[in-house]
Symmetry: C2
Subunit: 337 residues, 2 copies
């Protein structure tokens, strides 16, 4: 097996210097039309492909984006990854994939690795910890975009997410409109922005209608594990159990539904349920679920677009906060009380 051709082989074959070949490759300087053709022919003939590592070494940065997601087992993140990969390809960017499994320690390791690779940019769903390391990435001029969630302390970082407050308020109003006043909400952890904001939206809707907030009906659950199921069970065991439920923690939707099914809680007769995130399986569940659909393709599009623009320094330094509206889908899991 012959060794792969290098830029010097191409230069020799085309009868020009490596500088010219490089300029043809990148369009970074003038090249006479005739020589350009010779170079292109030589590239073709030798099947030359520039080594990414060499370019990266001399330029100091790469066209690879680190994608740090919580958990690919969650269909929301899986579909997000799918779209991000597609958007990246259309911009000739590569995706280095890592997962945190919602574990700050793993997240820390992943961030270190990403630094070594001198990725050109980062898209991530932060666990909420490792603030110093995220800061360090930014300090090294590596563009970072948070998607879905963010970290409040890091207000210099770009964020792309859905309108969490509005969406939660809409979901809650939907239940209020149907006569429910005892409405439970399972949110993400309150040290994540999605957790906090969705609870805010919920509270806002209650306030609008003059319904008092009951602490026992507002419960966060971690993203990992089955804790959400326990929390719902506790709510249902209250003297005055809720008749409506908002599951605002995407990762807990499945376990909550499983628990309700096992406990023979009839939806929507015993309990009206709205879930966050609509995935292709929700419509196969009986009854089909009323859901807040997150526009995943928009989240992916904006995230990639944003890192890409920052990588090319096409954007003023001020941090961007992109908020895309989510769609509310009424199906059969919610009913008049």
């Amino acid at each position: 097996m012959r060794k792969a051709a290098t830029i010097r082989d191409v230069a020799a074959r085309a009868g020009v210097s490596v500088s010219v070949v490089s300029r043809v490759l990148n369009g970074t300087g003038p090249v006479a039309p005739a020589k350009r053709v010779q170079v292109l022919d030589a590239i073709e003939a030798l099947a030359f492909r520039p080594r990414a590592a060499a370019r990266q070494l001399s330029q100091g940065h790469s066209d690879t984006i680190g994608l740090l997601l919580a958990d690919l087992t969650n269909p929301f993140f899986a579909r997000l990854a799918d779209r991000v990969v597609a958007e990246a390809r259309s911009r000739d960017l590569q995706i280095l994939l890592m997962t945190t499994q919602e574990d700050p320690h793993l997240e820390g390791q992943a961030l270190d690795t990403l630094l070594d690779r001198s990725v050109g940019g980062m898209i991530g769903t932060p666990t909420g910890h490792n603030v110093e390391r995220w800061e360090k990435l930014s300090a090294l001029d590596i563009p970072v975009v948070f998607v879905d969630r963010s970290i409040a302390e890091l207000d210099q970082v770009d964020v792309v997410s859905i309108e969490n407050i509005d969406s939660a308020a809409t979901a809650t109003r939907h239940l209020l409109d149907r006569g429910h006043t005892r409405i439970g909400i399972i949110s993400g952890p309150l040290d994540t922005t999605t957790g906090v904001e969705r609870v805010q939206g919920y509270e806002q809707a209650l306030r609008e209608r003059g319904v008092a907030r009951d602490d026992r009906l507002v419960r966060p659950a971690p993203f990992r594990g089955d804790h959400g199921a326990d929390v719902v069970a506790q709510m249902l065991a209250l003297p005055e159990p809720p008749t409506g439920l908002v599951v605002a923690n995407t990762a807990q939707v499945r376990v909550v539904l499983r628990m309700l099914s096992q406990a023979r809680v009839e939806i929507p007769d015993d309990l009206s349920v709205v879930v966050f995130d609509d995935n292709p399986w929700t419509e196969l569940i009986r009854p089909p679920l009323t859901a807040v659909r997150q526009p995943i393709d928009m989240l992916a599009l904006h995230s990639v677009e944003l890192v890409h623009a920052r990588m090319r320094q096409k954007l003023p330094p001020a941090p961007r906060r992109v908020r895309v509206p989510a769609e509310f889908l009424e199906r059969a899991s919610t009913a008049r009380r």
Copy 2:
């Protein structure tokens, strides 16, 4: 912002040569204990992290594995990606993610890119095309492992998959045992190994029981699109429609179920259904689905282990074919005829 430290900075600070630092870093040669400590201290003090690109350039290969999956929207591949990422991390390998969307053209582009990046290895679910490019990777001594599916012509490539024939035979026998003789099967395209093998298993089970094969009940469907639904509809419109159905095409399970639900076909009363691949949502569907569960963690483990071993040239050249057994889960979607 100060520039990041290089190996020469470390050498200077520790009062040694770069060779010594490199040896400390990689354990590639002897270093006096005292100097080792000095070097380690300097690394610590300067927060030095070796640049991956530089190492890759001089070594000619990288510790990055290209992961080329069909489609992250399919929970099977998403969970596979999740496990592959985890296995890779525990071996200090990185994952460069790409998707083919089942499109040979996109797959071709992705393979080209992977070549440029001089990835150290590849794990992929081939579309069945681009044979020359896969061969080229192998010819360049880049270890390739096919997972889930493979390409028959490329018999020199390692493969990790489930026991497709057995699994399909088991699923079919399960229906035969319950008195079904008109059994339909929706397989993957017949130019994929999973498609062919699962049909073989189906036929084998029929033969064992002396049931004649009816061509109209053996239908492949592409992985993309909703074609599987049409095919099932056609089967059900036959003069003698099937009473049992094996959906052996993971990607079509969802659309088939949706169609059955819309057509008000009662499962299992009108039709007993066995599906390939069990994902966390299948048990939430009414009725819970009888399924062939693919041991995704094993598929991931073996794939990564295999590329890793090949990357370190720890394996004899003969191609490995790892076949892991799949589990059969009886639930409520199949019943006696």
